[in-house]
Symmetry: C2
Subunit: 207 residues, 2 copies
């Protein structure tokens, strides 16, 4: 199972690396970071660079795509090469997935029209622009399209996907390997229970 994760300037690191780590540990999976050109791509803080080792032209038909989000998503919506690659790859994929604002890129590629999908809470309503039905859930599956909520939700999305792709026992073994028994010290991860002031404070952190 060949997984491609497209990187674009100012992606959010954990959006890409959460699913990457889950799927890279899965038996029979190979993950490749892909971009317009081979080479390092900077994240939204400009301090992390992950190397893309293939161009879009090198990898036209992966089995799975995982589109990350980030502050750079809005610029990436105008990146014709990226959007065209997503649209074209989707014709061949077994699964087409996103994390965070990455779902807007699936929308821009025309893949979400009439479908339920999720995204980061701050941009969830933007999905309507692409004819999608915004759903405030952690992971939303609609046929072969699986979208995850913000940033850290990519881990839950990838484990859900892996359970479908390789069976529950394999997904459980990867969960144990990455010791994913989350115990957040605070209970502030959901916008459903956050105050307006806390949401504004969170948004002020955007780079």
């Amino acid at each position: 199972m060949h997984v491609a994760i497209p990187l674009y300037p100012r992606f959010t690191a954990l959006d890409a690396v959460g699913p990457y780590t889950v799927l890279a540990f899965a038996p029979g999976f190979t993950v490749t970071f892909v971009a317009g050109q081979v080479g390092p791509v900077p994240d939204d803080h400009g301090t992390l660079r992950i190397a893309a080792t293939a161009s879009y032209a090198d990898l036209p038909a992966p089995d799975v795509i995982v589109v990350p989000g980030g502050s750079g998503t809005f610029d990436a919506l105008a990146d014709e090469a990226l959007v065209a690659w997503i649209r074209q790859a989707h014709e061949h994929t077994r699964w087409t997935t996103s994390v965070c604002s990455g779902s807007l890129l699936l929308g821009a590629a025309g893949l979400l029209d009439g479908l339920p999908a999720t995204s980061h809470w701050a941009v969830l309503d933007e999905l309507k622009k692409y004819g999608a039905e915004p759903v405030s859930e952690r992971v939303v599956t609609s046929g072969k399209i699986v979208t995850g909520a913000g940033v850290s939700a990519g881990i839950d999305m990838a484990l859900t996907l892996l359970g479908q792709a390789s069976g529950e026992e394999t997904a459980r073994s990867v969960q144990l390997m990455i010791e994913y028994d989350p115990q957040p010290p605070f209970d502030s991860g959901s916008a459903k229970t956050a105050s307006q002031a806390m949401m504004e404070r969170a948004l002020s952190l955007l780079p």
Copy 2:
């Protein structure tokens, strides 16, 4: 607050990028990836490369260090430059932290003698070699040393640290920004409740 994350060949990506993403979003924090030499460092699957932008010599006295684990930890224990940098940096840090088997590197640097610490479940007992008291908990704080359990525990560790460093409200705002409201699709993340067969299956995934 200057955070340094040392990278060595065959680190586990999420060990480094979980805490990185939490701390990079925190106001007043700057995170630098550091290694023996500036340049890309491959992870344990050989498919992800993160660029180190500073050498150990460039960054002798960061405020915080976060030492990741990975399949490469056992080779890294013999990396004198890395172990010496950890030992020397610790003299100046406000916090010295690790994720996963990264705690063995703190041990090798002589920092854990007589102290409680945690690690990935598969190597927890190895901590005894360094005089540490292995504790099977998600995050263990002992003075200025904070150790986290396996891989994904780095997110919980970093939020705990951020709560101490910048206050609970700031940590909560970062948690909301990264939408860290975990909902694993399975309940298999803890070795405390795993069968022997499942533990063996998980260990077979090690690259």
